[in-house]
């Protein structure tokens, strides 16, 4: 193709002013071309300027920021900071798919009206034409009931469906350029596959030109033709996807690639001696009023059992709504179970906080996902850590100061950070402090609730490394909760899979390397994007489940409505048995071992 590129960006700079009033370039001299029908991926850590660049393409910058450079999209050219020229193109020639579709839709209007709105505002089509086009887009995006789905309200749809509807909204004006800003980051892996497949299909069919912003190389590999690797606002490498994945030339790209493939952290294999440190036995828990049978109005956990040995690391995985965080809350005493017990060293713990002794509380510490809200913004790092030392160990004065310094050393942060407030720290530093607060109690077990989920891949690697090291040096045990099976595999020697509050599978890490798996585990594992361009094509569209409309019952297998291998007359009538496989993992399923191996896709 000899024609000039469809999108051309030359020397794009975005400048903001620091609080001291000095100019700071957050995007510095970025140039790239996109051919018609191609997708360019912008990849980098948070703070690399990838979203800023994507927004600058729309002529938008945060207040106070200045855009300079030349941007040409289709026939529209603009130079310097004349953002108004591009602003007129927004939502018409250039459209945007945001990360959180759930927050981007107006909850009080039907989705079809919102989807066709850009076409009506810019006058590119009549309402009837736009509606017809929308239905064809819904079809292309593999949305269920494309003719009628538009008449629903956003709260009636799932996150994955809303994300696809938002893509339909972006494509309704047949734009010259679509910007996808981390559109699948907030989705579960199993949903992400469906959405990615839909996006790829629609982008190819419509011949749309796109910019795909993401931090996840494996996702990008499925979607893009070209990759632009960014770090601190500058281009590190630009090449075809294949070339970036196979022969990266830049060091930073290599770091990103390495972090995208978490390696198993060398942890001493635990020999189970005597009784477990922490055992969770037949726990039922939920929210809302409790009925006569002792069931909560909104049950979250059903009969969950697991053991954690001294110094062991047990991973809990599942998608959102699987009840994995509730397990941690029950163990920590923040939520009293409706049935079942949690015991520490064989001694049953009181269900709620009030009944537990300070010593028991000290031995179990919880670390939350989001360090931004898990650390009190009114206190300095030293105060946060010092309080725990004083509370559990009675240390104060110089001794406490020394204790804080030791803790900071343990998590590889400079001692000077003790006087800083948490909002002055980076995301990775905050998460380390969050971890140090738990360590300050000198606990036996730390409940890690998605502690690496909000972090960039490179930072996540470092935190996982730290966790493995602490376990080796201090002998602390982990209950490690995550939605990402790769992260769990990297750290834990035992893994429990939760689905809608039931434990569907549990076993040692190695048993998750090859089938037999529970059908849900199978789905989870096969949904994790791999670092090769043909992965998405290889994943077969999930064959439809035979009992898609079966009403869920607490006794039956909860996965039946989504299970591709459910058996009529068995799965829909009787509760599944817990089967012990030869590899040592136990699976809650009607299917026998041989069948599970055979049915592995």
């Amino acid at each position: 193709m000899s024609a000039s590129p469809h999108v051309a960006v030359r020397n794009l700079c975005v400048t903001v002013r620091t609080p001291e009033g000095e100019p700071l370039r957050i995007v510095d001299g970025v140039s790239f071309d996109i051919q018609r029908g191609d997708v360019l991926a912008l990849i980098g850590e948070s703070g690399s300027g990838k979203t800023t660049i994507a927004l600058a393409l729309m002529g938008y910058a945060r207040s106070g920021a200045q855009i300079s450079g030349e941007i040409r999209v289709g026939d529209a050219t603009f130079e310097g900071s004349g953002g108004a020229t591009l602003a007129a193109q927004r939502g018409n020639r250039i459209t945007y798919v945001a990360q959180s579709a759930a927050a981007a839709f107006n909850p009080s209007r039907r989705v079809i009206e919102q989807v066709i709105e850009p076409a009506l505002i810019h006058g590119t089509a009549t309402a009837a034409e736009a509606r017809a086009h929308a239905v064809s887009l819904f079809e292309a995006l593999a949305l269920p009931n494309p003719k009628t789905i538009g008449s629903r309200y956003p709260h009636e749809l799932s996150g994955g469906q809303l994300q696809r509807l938002m893509a339909a909204m972006a494509l309704i004006t047949r734009p010259d350029l679509v910007i996808f800003d981390e559109p699948t980051t907030a989705l579960d892996v199993t949903t992400q596959v469906e959405v990615l497949q839909a996006f790829r299909k629609v982008v190819r069919e419509q011949g749309a030109t796109g910019v795909y912003v993401s931090h996840d190389l494996a996702v990008v590999a499925q979607m893009a033709d070209q990759i632009l690797v960014l770090n601190r606002g500058t281009v590190r490498e630009q090449n075809s996807v294949q070339a970036v994945l196979e022969t990266p030339v830049d060091d930073y790209t290599r770091t990103l690639l390495a972090a995208a493939r978490p390696v198993i952290k060398a942890a001493t294999p635990q020999v189970a001696v005597g009784e477990p440190l922490l055992s969770i036995t037949g726990v039922h828990a939920g929210y809302g009023p409790i009925d006569r049978n002792g069931r909560a109005a909104h049950p979250v956990l059903t009969d969950v059992t697991m053991n954690i040995g001294r110094g062991a690391a047990v991973g809990v995985i599942g998608e959102s709504g699987s009840g994995k965080s509730t397990v941690a809350r029950v163990v920590a005493g923040l939520l009293a179970p409706t049935a079942g017990t949690v015991s520490l060293d064989g001694e049953p713990l009181a269900p709620a906080l009030d009944g537990r002794t300070r010593e028991q509380l000290r031995r179990i510490q919880i670390v939350f996902q989001n360090a931004d809200i898990a650390l009190n913004p009114a206190h300095s790092v030293g105060e946060i850590l010092g309080r725990v030392l004083r509370f559990y160990h009675g240390t104060s004065g110089d001794q406490a100061r020394q204790g804080v310094a030791e803790l900071l050393d343990l998590i590889r942060l400079p001692a000077g950070i003790a006087d800083r407030r948490c909002d002055e720290l980076s995301g990775g530093q905050k998460q380390r402090v969050n971890l140090a607060r738990a360590l300050a109690a000198k606990p036996d077990v730390i409940l890690c609730d998605e502690v690496t989920s909000a972090l960039d891949t490179v930072v996540r690697e470092a935190i996982l490394e730290l966790l493995a090291e602490l376990r080796r040096d201090l002998g602390v045990a982990y209950l490690f909760i995550s939605h990402d099976i790769a992260t769990v595999k990297a750290l834990c020697d035992e893994i429990v899979v939760l689905y809608k509050g039931t434990r569907v599978e549990s076993g040692l890490r190695d048993t998750y390397a090859a089938p037999p798996f529970h059908p849900y585990t199978d789905l989870l594992i096969s949904s994790v994007p791999e670092l090769r361009t043909d992965w998405l094509t290889g994943v077969g569209l999930q064959s439809s489940a035979p009992f898609a409309n079966l009403h869920e019952s607490p006794d039956l297998c909860r996965f039946v409505p989504r299970c591709p291998v459910a058996i009529a007359g068995k799965c829909d009538v009787a509760p599944p048995p817990l089967r012990l496989m030869t590899a040592g993992n136990s699976v809650l399923c009607h299917r026998a071992e041989a069948e599970l191996i055979r049915m592995h896709p």
Binding site: P19, L361, I373, A374, N376, A378, V388, R437
Partner: protein, 275 residues
């Protein structure tokens, strides 16, 4: 907080904040030293002429009885500023204290306090004051208490909604899981994070109290003669309104500058910190 950090904070205030700060400092100074620099005793009939205009001898003229307006203003400011400050402090301490109890305490405490506050808020403040003054007679202490009680529920509602939101955050959960007592949760984990919006509320309430006090005095329920706060000065000189007498304009301007000053300062201070 040392002197340099205060100076730096002052320098960072926007112009409106500096204006507010100057006005507030001016009124605090007047409240402190006013009576000592007043040229005449506040009750003395210094001028033969009533509602006299400004002159070298009487800077702000004379009032309806021929008393020196400047002297009465200087003596009256301390009642308005002092009484309002004490009343707002009492109101905020009670309101925020109850709010924290409601937020960290068991559910029934929250229900009990919230319903009690709803009851209190439904009583019109001026009628409430009228009844109490009629029953117990007017005194400075009673007046302060009436005003404080009137403004407890408003502060309680704002502080409670702030605290209830904060109590659900992870850092409070962590402290709870650690086994911290309710007092620690309320004072160490929750309170420091609601200070900024609370100060905005204090500023607003201070202004309301100045106006309520002026209103009560205007109705004759406030300070009793010969003492007079800024509101009473406006009331007793209403007959001069038709002539545009300085005696009524001066205290009205004084009330306005005090309330505007406090608001400007608090707005600027809370916005600056939220950055």
């Amino acid at each position: 907080m040392n002197v340099t950090s205060i100076l730096r904070a002052v320098r960072r205030l926007p112009i409106s904040g500096k204006v507010g700060l100057v006005l507030v400092l001016f009124w605090i100074a007047i409240a402190a030293i006013g009576p000592f620099i007043a040229p005449y005793p506040p009750g003395s009939f210094a001028n033969e002429e009533v509602f006299a205009g400004s002159s070298g001898q009487f800077w702000l003229g004379s009032d309806f009885l021929g008393r020196d307006v400047l002297s009465r203003l200087l003596s009256g400011a301390r009642f308005t500023v002092g009484l309002s400050a004490v009343a707002v402090t009492i109101a905020v301490c009670i309101g925020t204290g109850f709010a924290l109890m409601a937020a960290v305490g068991p559910r029934w405490v929250d229900e009990l306090l919230s319903r009690a506050m709803d009851t209190l808020i439904s009583i019109p403040s001026k009628i409430f004051a009228l009844v109490l003054v009629a029953a117990f007679g007017s005194s400075l202490v009673l007046l302060t208490l009436i005003i404080a009680i009137t403004y407890v529920p408003g502060n309680f509602r704002i502080a409670r909604s702030l605290a209830v939101g904060l109590v659900r955050l992870d850092y409070v959960e962590v402290a709870r899981a650690r086994g911290e007592g309710r007092l620690h949760l309320a004072l160490v984990e929750v309170l420091p994070n609601m200070i900024k919006p609370l100060f905005a509320d204090i500023g607003l309430r201070f202004v309301f109290i100045v106006l309520l006090l002026s209103g009560l005095s205007f109705l004759g329920l406030g300070l009793q003669p010969p003492d007079a706060d800024l509101g009473s000065l406006v009331r007793e000189n209403t007959s001069g309104l038709a002539e545009g007498a300085l005696a009524i304009i001066a205290p009205a301007v004084a009330i306005a500058s005090l309330t505007v000053g406090v608001n400007l300062l608090i707005d600027a201070a809370t916005q600056g910190k939220a950055r």
